[in-house]
Every structure is written in C-alpha cells, then in structure tokens.
Point group: C2
Chain length 516, copies 2
Amino acid sequence: MDFIANAVGRLVPTELEGRRLKPFAGAHADLAGGTGYGGRIRAAAQYTDKLLPDLDAAIEACAIRDGMTISFHHHLRNGDMLINLVMEKLAQRGLKDLVLAPSALFPTHEKLVALIESGVISHVEGSMNGPIGRACSLGRMKKAAVLRSHGGRFRAIQDGDLHIDVAFIAAPCSDAHGNANGLYGPSACGPLGFALADSLWADRVVVVTDHLAPFPCYPWTIEGGHVDYVVQVERIGDPAQIVSGTTEITRSPTRLLIAEYAARFVRDSGLMTEPGFSFQAGAGGVSLAFVKFMADYMAAAGITADFVRGGSTRFMVDLLNRGLTRYLLDGQSFDRDTVASLRDHPRHVETNPFVSYNYHSKGCFAQRVQVSVLGATEVDLDFNVNVNTHSDGWLLHGIGGFTDAADAHVTMITAPLVRNRVPIIVDRVTTVTAPGEMIDVIVTERGIAINPRRDDLQERLRHSSLPIVPIEKLSAMAVAMTGVPEKPRFNDRVVALIEFRDGTIIDVVRQLIPRE
Amino acid sequence: MDFIANAVGRLVPTELEGRRLKPFAGAHADLAGGTGYGGRIRAAAQYTDKLLPDLDAAIEACAIRDGMTISFHHHLRNGDMLINLVMEKLAQRGLKDLVLAPSALFPTHEKLVALIESGVISHVEGSMNGPIGRACSLGRMKKAAVLRSHGGRFRAIQDGDLHIDVAFIAAPCSDAHGNANGLYGPSACGPLGFALADSLWADRVVVVTDHLAPFPCYPWTIEGGHVDYVVQVERIGDPAQIVSGTTEITRSPTRLLIAEYAARFVRDSGLMTEPGFSFQAGAGGVSLAFVKFMADYMAAAGITADFVRGGSTRFMVDLLNRGLTRYLLDGQSFDRDTVASLRDHPRHVETNPFVSYNYHSKGCFAQRVQVSVLGATEVDLDFNVNVNTHSDGWLLHGIGGFTDAADAHVTMITAPLVRNRVPIIVDRVTTVTAPGEMIDVIVTERGIAINPRRDDLQERLRHSSLPIVPIEKLSAMAVAMTGVPEKPRFNDRVVALIEFRDGTIIDVVRQLIPRE
C-alpha cells in the first residue's frame, strides 16, 4: 500500500481494498467537478401498485444479495427501529458482506456490532458513533469504514462513488405512491432530507411507514417517482426517543462563559449588524446557550437575521417566532418542539444536503452562512480540527455536517480548554476532520484564539475586551493544567477513511491498541 | 432513409439526420428504462458570486457557440419577453445553427421565424404553435423539429436524448444564489416546473429575473445549487399577457352541451362517487365548463375529490376553496387568479413534469388520475388522437401534456363533431399524437363513443340516458354534414418527429404542399 502526504501533512493511502483514493489537496482545491452518476432509469408502467404486505416481501422484491450496499437515514435518531429490524432480517436470511450505508448510527444500533462480528456487515460507509465506532477502532470490520460529512455523503452518492443497491427509508408519513415526509404521524421527526440522495440514486428504494396517508402525501420530501415499494409496519420508531435531543441550556458556568464569549465575538466583530447576517449552530448545551445569547444581542440591537441554519432546536424556533430571523432553514430536528413549527410556520423551511452542503454543485447554502458555531474533540496549533476520534484514539463520532458547515464566512469552534482532564488544544490532532484553513476562531473559557490567516477578524476585534490570545497560549494553559497526555498507540491497519467533502482523503484512522 | 411501420401503423424512419430512432411499440411497451444522463458536476468553490451585470455578460460567460442547444420555459406564455431577447442577441453575435429547445412557443415568438429563415436557428426541439409551426410545415427549418409532450421533454433531458448547453430561465423571483420561483414580483406566473429538467441537466443555467429578492428566495422551485449565473433585467415579461388565458366559460350551446355530457358521463359512470376520485382538465372553454358542471355534481352528491390536476384556472381554485377537492396539483397557471392561490393556499401545490408526467420514473401522478378530459384536432376510428396538425395538414400545436395526461384511468376527448366545416372524427388522423389504446371516450354534442376496449365503461353506462353510440356513427354523422374533406398533400421530406413520451417515434409530419 502506497501512502502519500496530503495537504494537511497526513499520510494517506493512494489505494485501499481496490478503491483508488485521492489525497486531500486543500479545502477549495477541487475546481473541476466531474461527471455525475446517471442512475438506473425505470419505466412507469412497472409501478402500478407499490404496496407490499411486509418487510420480507420488500426484501424479496429487491433481490438482496451478498455484498450489496444497504442504506438508511438517521432522522429518527436514537428512536429509529428500522435499521436493526432490516439488518436482522438480512442476517436471518444468511446474507454476508453487506455494506451498511446509514447517514448516521446511534446507541440504539449497538446490536449491529454482532452482525459486524459475524460477517453479515462487512463495513460501514457513513457516520458511526459509540459502540459501532468502538468496534471499528478495534478492527472488527472486514474492510475499512468510510466516514463522510452530510454533504460529502450526498456528493458520493450523486457522483457514483457510493452506489446504493437498496435504500430503506423510514417515513413518518407516506402515501401508496411513496410520496413521504417527516411531519405527520406518530413517528414525526421533522425533515427527511438525509434520505434524499438515497431516493434519487439507489437502485431500489423502499419506503417504510407507520402512517399511510391518502394520495397525495404533501409535502413530498421524498418523491414517489423515485420509490419502488411502500411497506406499512406497526412502528418505525420509539416516539419517546425520536428527536429527543438536549433541549436544556447548559448550567455549567464554564460552558455558559464559552457561549457568551462566542456570542460577544459575533456582536463585537460587527458581523451581527452587517446586512445579510446569518448563523448556524448545533444542538449541544453550548450551542443552545450561544443561540440564546445571540437572541438577546440581536433583540437589543434591533437586528433581524436573513436566516439561521439548524439542525433546529426550540431556541432556533424562538428566534423565528420573535422575528429575529426571516427564515429558519432546517436540515434536521433535534427536539420535538421544532417538528410542529416546521409543519406550521411558513418560514421554517426544510432543507437537505443538496441545497445546504453539497460541494459538487453550483454552490450551496453553507457558503452563504456568515457565522458557523461548531464543537470539536481536538484542535491543533494549525487550527486543524478533529471531531471523530478522542485523544485516547477511539473513533466515537461521525463527521455530521462539520466539514460542510465549516465553509461559512467565519467558522468558530467552541470547546472547554480541558475535557475529562485532557486538553482540547493539542500540538497535533489525533485525526484531521477539517483543515485549519477552514477554522477561524477557537473560543474557550480561558481565551479566544483567532486563526492568523484572518487578519480581518483580528482587526475587527482590536478594541474588544474579549480575551483574545494566540492559540499557543491556550495550548500552554491546558498543558499546565493536565500535563502532557499519553498518546494512543495504533497498529498499521487502516480501519477508517476520513473523506473530505470533495471526495479526497483528509486522514485515516488506524486500529487502536487499547490501553490496559 | 429506412422506414418501418410502428404499433399504430405509421411509417417512421429508423434514423434521421444522424439520430437513431425507435418506432413506437405501444403505450406501455417500454418496461426497461435505461441509464440516466449524469450531467456535468461542478465544484461549489467556483460559485461565490453568480450575479452578472446583464444578459450579454451571461452569454459571454456561457461561451455559446454555433450549433449549441439553448432552452427556455413557457410559464410566461404569450407575455414572455426573454426568448426573443436572447435569440436576437445570439443572432447579433453571428451565431448559426442553434437548436431552440423551449417547452413551448406562443404567437409573441413569431419574430423567431426570421431567425429560422436566416439559419440562426437550425430547428426547434419542443412545442411550437402558430407561426413557427407554419414555418416548420413549409420546410423552413434546416433539420426536422422534434415535438415532445411535457413529460417526454423531461424524460429526454433526463435520459440525455436532449442535451441542453445553456438554459435561460425567466424567473419572476430569484435571489443572488439562483433560488427562484414564479410566485412573487411583477411577472408572477405561478409554477415554474417546466424549467426543472433544464435546471437539473443543462450544462449552464442562467436565471434571468426582474425581481431580485434577498436570500433565501423561497420556495425554491429552481434550486440555486443548479444555477450558474443570475442576471437582473428590467422586465422579463408583459404582465398584461402573462398567464392571461381564457377565463370565460364558453357561451356556445354546442360546447356547453359537450361539457355537460362529459361531466354527466363521469357522474353516471359512478367514477365520481368511488373512493379516491380525481380528475384533470385543461383551460379551453369546454374544459372550464366541464369543471363547473363537475363542481355542481360533486357538491350535490357531497363528494370531495382526493385531488384535481391543473393547469389551473379560477374554476379549479373555486373547487379547492369550496372544499370539493383536498388538493389542487398545479403544473401551470392559465389565469391570473390562480397565482395568488398557489402562493397562499397550503393545499394548492406546485408540481412539475417529473412528479406529474415522467414515464421514465418509478411512476408518476398521471397514472393516478381517475378522469382526464382533453381536447383534440382529430380522432380516428381506432381512437387515435391528433393534437398537432389540422386536417388541412398544417402543424399548428404542440403536444402539451396530452400523451402524459392520457395515461389516466379514463381519458375523455371533448370536441365538437365538426369544426370550421371539417369533421373531427375521421377515418385516419393526419398525425397520430396518442395511440387509440390510451383514449377511452369521445364526447361530442351529437353523441358519445366509448372505445370498444373499455367494456367496463360500456357496462357502467348501460342504464344512462346519455347518447352513447359507436364511433363509426359519429363519423358518418359528421361526413353527412360536411362531405368528405379534401386531404392535404405533402412531399416526402420529414419536417417534424412526433415523439411519444417514452422516446419512441409515433409519427412524423411531412412538408406541406400548400393548397392554391
């Protein structure tokens, strides 16, 4: 296996398990694009009745064979019941070497570890977290996993890099034609856009619903014209677990201070009062607090943002309802309050990874966001960010939309200086998820570091009372608190590829030699 | 040139001007589909600023060369100002042999005849009517025109049969990213779906607007991620002419009787009271009256349709507002009253030729419509329908959505027995647009003919007082009134191909030898 140093200095293979790989060359080095995967065209006359009696009938109809790639979406989050159900049925049929291509996995999918170990699942192409990530770290998968951002997954499917044989789409509401959305029914989950690429390019598409509605089911986030079969089941998810994310603002004084610093940075920089202001923030406790601080500052200054970008939370919905933003552009629901808003508020708008994040397009919304506030497990002195592995080497998180959202005009990382007695700011991140050139500001409770590339931001904050310091100083403070942590040990085997949004390889994860 | 008899007995070429052609084999003979045209993939980093100062800059940026295919949509109908403007600019640049690929043309585009005669435009792939059709009939185009239905046009672009080099999309409302819709601004025209395929697969896409809105312009019928350039101009259309179709119900007693017969047929057949009732009707005077009769019958019977399909008219909107239909699924606005309804009514829903009409898909809405009511220029004893040429041989109309909408469960043709002293029911249609196997009922003021294939409909109407007669009797009545009309004379040259929705050739139009 040949390795080559990529643009962030990581050695990445030029070929792995038969797939030729391109090294990461810079966040915007790919100007060429390419040719799309046209996909298989079907004839409408074959589709007079798509309703099948049960999942087994759909599995039969799709003629699933060993080695095929089976995909799912993650809008039901930890409440999803479909992935386990389908994969167990495939295991019972004696199938082997399946490629599992979910947009993400959650702790509820832990039982898939057994299917990985028994060879039913060869590997995962898609985000993993927790138990599946641990199994990957330990080399349990037959082939290397491929981690992609939300936009990168759309691109890979669009371009034909990730060919899906059969997509199973858990749909909270669908008609018999397969028009489906996530807004109605007992398993309502809000948006359904992570399944869009699957519906457009998978060879076979099965919509599985527990709420069959009369035609036309509208909105048709998933268009029936892309759907082969519709199956009604009793339940696709556990309502108590669907989109039941963190909805409480952190009470940690440290985290509240980080959120306040981040919001003050946006205000004091003057970005907030410029025309066309917009921002994006996630669902962690710091992000929720950041949104609340922003709401206060915007209200005080009489500012209405052009748009804010979710994953949506009730704090985002509050911005919309208070007139502090014209639009809430929402790719996924993180809490249940947001689902009703998406259904009923005409300016709470559903998005998908094509419009939001796809780098192989004629532009996407990520480029139009003024401020993006994101978390990280590690940041290094070159501002490279890791969101996949921890400093102890375990692969525990997917990329989510990180690399896509980091294309904002100003990308800010919020993180405590130290987490579980481990520094967040390190010499060299364990894994590079996103290159330092995309990361502009690191906000910790002890100080804020601005990327030296961003003279403009340094200048904007010249008269601010915020504690702006060089990143080296933050690193030194952390090490002074924790000592230099022990590095994890890996063997040579590449167990996962970290794919950048343009399809190049920005880093690899190697098999972990666990500490005693 | 080799000719072969197709499934409706027409001799069609197997090859023309370098393009291999497949003969029509039956309405649902194509079960295979194929492989889609992937299209050129671009990289988002190239798209940081799409706004160009004027149309000339866009033409330069698109590097338009001789022989390229240039496309437009027709939602502004006879009010469109963009097609003439762009084509004249291309003529001024000395370009030749351009292929014009509009979704339709209107009388306002008559001045394009001069560009056809001067060789700027080689031929038209798309619907023509009136003056351009006359020029085609007289052999003025360098190559044969290709006429496709709305669904057939989407299919041809999707499958790569019609490759568009540059699409110019007249957009009543757009933001700087190219997110565009037809709902706002001085040129509001309602839906914008005829431009969807162009936006998805054209190599370059230029959105031209006279109403530039802040980002995000929502809804984004055209997604900015598919758009290369945005140009703001003073006016894209003449508001007095945009969607200013017929809005008055016919006062002709003959036509009113036809409409009443058609509506009574739907009622008396029992179709109206079956679960899942739906229908589609167009914008002619008979269609408007039909909708009004249906409204009366449905109200009297306490029926709510699952959906009705437009092109929308104020009579369709009235159905929605009176609760006589759950949804109005609308592909184009025929009158101005409908635009505000589409914008404001949550169940007046915009559609496009993919969801509605595309045969190369996993099904489309056309198959789910119970009753489709359509017009024709001729119907023959095999129930074949002509909507393109008149009995005197002139090519004067596009296909519109005819062949697609004819896939409904029951397709009814409404027409007077005689029009301008020419019978509508003839031995053999001048041109076959749609095969008789798709046509179920012919409704005239003198009688109603049911296709013998439809025993079920014969049976349903057994006890009806409607004047149901064999089609031969209608034909004989017409000839008794008019005598046998003179047949047009053609020379051998094929001036237009009539393409069926699956891409096969159902008929050709030959060069007309005009009567003295």
